[in-house]
Subunit: 211 residues, 2 copies
């Protein structure tokens, strides 16, 4: 049976290694996945490539996208818009390619509300202590920022319950984590919600025997 | 994190090769699985081994099991009772062993109603034509019985929607089918419903950062 790709949202605590895991997943199974690129009205930072990190649009263009329902979800932070363009996602899902949305919790839960068939995966270190160590060991942030990130993680922890799967990213076991993700995503295609065409075909094919 | 085993119900059309697939799954991963043995009041048939095919009990014993809530589910066919003893299932799940219940649709849906965390998998040939061929090629049944089985499959088809996963058992690909089952069952342990202890631990560990 020809299968749709799976709309997959991956979130995780800051410091969970989300970016690395998603990149590795793409590299390992390039034909199975693509990464949704968000649109934003904020200016590109140094090193950011248009169309790779973000689609950079004007405020007017973004508001037109909202008006024309061209976004799966969007949010406004400070003075900038961020959103997920729908067209790219739908086109790839129809080709049987899984589309990964690497977005934060609020956006993730919005997606789930509007697209209950979306798969929500939360990536996490094995425990709070490891999360703290990872944030400190990056050595790129000052104490106040680290504490702010940990506070946010603490506030977010309970919302892990709104995800579908919790996947551990353990130290030195990134390949296990990537394979685990891959298995979970591929298995979704066997879920009954994604098998309705097959079930209908089976029912039709057996109709002749029901007098 | 220490995980519970998954209570897994496997059903399938008569002729779907359910028995063979389940046997192969047990042989391939003997430490991960055990098969729940049903209790029944019917007499053992030739070649049936007590404790392997069924637990054979008297009507009085069975009715006592009902009264003492010792059964996960039970049903009465003609003059005989059939049911799933709870104790064996619970003990093995607590040890982290997945317990397989190979039961028909009605029993399966009863289990799901009472234990929503149970995983329901429906095994099916790839199409109606293949199902018919398999039933005919067994050569063990007369035409009337074959048609009766196909009629029942036709009536059951729509209830596939009440299962969690639909897994295809294609000709000559039994190992793929067994591995697919194994992946689906193992991945359940990462579902959020089976991660509540982990989430609580994470929230507790991060509490210190929330002022």
């Amino acid at each position: 049976m020809k299968k749709q790709g799976i709309l997959t949202v991956i979130s995780g605590f800051s410091g969970a290694g989300k970016g690395t895991v998603v990149r590795r997943l793409m590299e390992k199974y390039p034909e199975d996945y693509c990464l949704s690129v968000s649109a934003t009205t904020r200016a590109p930072r140094e090193n950011e490539i248009p169309g790779v990190h973000y689609l950079y649009v004007t405020k007017e263009e973004f508001e037109q996208m909202i008006e024309e329902h061209q976004l799966l979800e969007y949010a406004q932070y400070v003075d900038n818009y961020y959103g997920t363009p729908k067209k790219f996602v739908v086109e790839h899902l129809n080709k049987g390619i899984h589309v990964i949305l690497e977005i934060e919790m609020q956006g993730a839960l919005k997606i789930k509300k509007r697209y209950p068939e979306a798969l929500l995966i939360f990536l996490t270190p094995p425990d709070a202590k490891t999360l703290e160590e990872r944030l400190r060991n990056r050595g790129t942030e000052d104490e106040a920022t680290i504490v702010k990130r940990l506070k946010r993680a603490g506030e977010e922890a309970v919302y892990m319950n709104d995800y579908d799967y919790i996947v551990l990213n353990e130290e030195g076991r990134i390949d296990e984590c990537v394979d685990q993700l891959h298995r979970i995503i591929c298995d979704q295609q066997y879920r009954v919600e994604n098998s309705s065409e097959f079930i209908q075909g089976m029912a039709d094919g057996l109709k002749v025997f029901i007098s």
